[in-house]
Symmetry: C2
Subunit: 357 residues, 2 copies
Amino acid sequence: PRRYRITLLPGDGIGPEVVSVAKDVLSIAGALEGIEFSYSELLMGGAAIDTVGVPLPEETLAKAKESDAVLLGAIGGYKWDGNAKPLKPETGLLQLRAGLGVFANLRPASVLPQLVDSSTLKKEVAEGVDLMVIRELTGGIYFGEPRGFGTNNKGEDIGFNTEIYSAFEIDRISRVAFEVARKRRCKLCSVDKANVLEASMLWRKRVNEISSEFPDVQLSHMYVDNAAMQLIRDPRQFDTIVTNNIFGDILSDEASMLTGSIGMLPSASVSGSGPGLFEPIHGSAPDIAGQDKANPLATVLSAAMLLRYGLGEENAARRIEDAVIETLNKGFRTGDIHSSGMVLVGCKRMGEEVLKS
Amino acid sequence: PRRYRITLLPGDGIGPEVVSVAKDVLSIAGALEGIEFSYSELLMGGAAIDTVGVPLPEETLAKAKESDAVLLGAIGGYKWDGNAKPLKPETGLLQLRAGLGVFANLRPASVLPQLVDSSTLKKEVAEGVDLMVIRELTGGIYFGEPRGFGTNNKGEDIGFNTEIYSAFEIDRISRVAFEVARKRRCKLCSVDKANVLEASMLWRKRVNEISSEFPDVQLSHMYVDNAAMQLIRDPRQFDTIVTNNIFGDILSDEASMLTGSIGMLPSASVSGSGPGLFEPIHGSAPDIAGQDKANPLATVLSAAMLLRYGLGEENAARRIEDAVIETLNKGFRTGDIHSSGMVLVGCKRMGEEVLKS
Ligand SMILES: CC(C)[C@H](C(=O)O)[C@@H](O)C(=O)O
Ligand SMILES: CC(C)[C@H](C(=O)O)[C@@H](O)C(=O)O
């Protein structure tokens, strides 16, 4: 059998519950396709802060780098909200992304026919939405230097950050985006603020440049403020969107909420060479942690993305996705996506139903 | 009678049509309240580029500064899209904001009961939405230095910008926001990315600081990605939102699109001392320019904001707002907000109906 080493980072809140379900699903789907997994479970986020004093222990990063793919649950919680920056769970996540070099964050947002009513959008606007936001994840204002605090020439306190992109960074994320668009509906929309920001002007120039390598993909450009509007006005106009780190943070969350079912949405962060990082887009939901109420499907679908984008195991990925659809078709729903007439189940039971499907 | 000097900047596309209607409405509402206006019409945007070669002629800025308030139509169009930055209509707008020092941009987004069906949100989510986004307008990454292009130590092209805020800038926009919230439902939500950006950490710290001056206003904080989601999930949770220049650009556009009727939405940009700048939030719509199809109500309502926030003439402002509501109640609609059973009218006729109301 083909063997892969998977790093599991359950993290905080509902993280452990959903990762446990996804692990079981991954193992079974793999077994059916002749794949064997070995798992190492490591500390990350608040759990790591409480145990060893830092949000991303060296051992965690080292083991993650040695493995074939990383599956993360969720990190953070009220408990650590007041911590100084080096001791925030979020800092560990940024360090993990940088440490793995996963510069391309793929976030699908699709409205499943079974769940179209979960959306706050009118049915005729929401149905059929199927888009993918590709966010640059290891550059831009998240990591740009100089950054920090100081005083200006009037003696006032200041806080500052640097939005910065190199042609190299833009080119490589553009190529990922064009490749992904090519496997979808061959439409790519690059989002920037090139009417104001120099970093965006370079962005637009390089994306145009790279587009000549992908003549079969139809490229368009949109300002970020307009994109925030168009996602609400007519989300079906989009297929694949590519944008920088901070705009991607905002727009990918906006796009996911359009579906009304963020408990269903996975994500993949890949580097092109080393192991990828796969995680649900939802947070750690500390208020329902440990109550067997969480929706594990976003993490289960992240495991499917792990198979597809992390290991190139398309068949096993499909198995998982088909099982999720079948489970929904049978009427099983966790609380976040429940509607009348459907069978309300908890996190574990939902996992069992996926395994049966 | 009280006398005010108004600078009119019709600008490009549908700008002249909608400003002409708003001017008539302003004059009549003023006359009924014993106010007399004198108008100077000046060049701005693409119209100025074509006539005198720059998007904000010196004379325009000088006259605007001398006047009591500025009413702007819209700027920009395909024609100038390819221009270099100093010759873009947008650059003129940024220069005008900076020149007038209008650091506080007030953008209401309300769903009127008459127009609730225009929203792409479900009726039960959209109805009753009534929020105000207050965007810092003369600082942050829009104006921060250093900015530009260069090469990094690997010889790659780079583009960069600086997100920077001083305590002074944050304090003054916060005070405006708390004051506005106080006149509304006394709830202020400050939006930032303080889990990642130093500029946002200072932002949050100062907003907390200033909140002690406004114990009657309930303050909360939200990360920008979450705010982009919450606006879609449950927009009624918001009353007043305050945020930086770039997040405000994105979120205020998102919030306006929730209403489904951006042809109805005005904005005010004020400095606390000199003349304010009042303009509809919609663009210049070159495709329908000169066809008498534009909705003038956003500009008419901007004139109402001019009276309220620019001149302190609350009664005249109310007259205009009441007349707009009455006109809608009578069933008159321009194409952008038309629905079956309503009377479809053009830009001029809509203006006449407001004047009758
Ligand atoms: C937790 C936070 C640092 C993170 C980000 O901003 O990237 C999160 O919002 C995300 O989108 O994964
Ligand atoms: C035209 C552009 C420079 C401007 C901005 O980004 O501020 C516009 O989007 C706005 O919101 O008024």
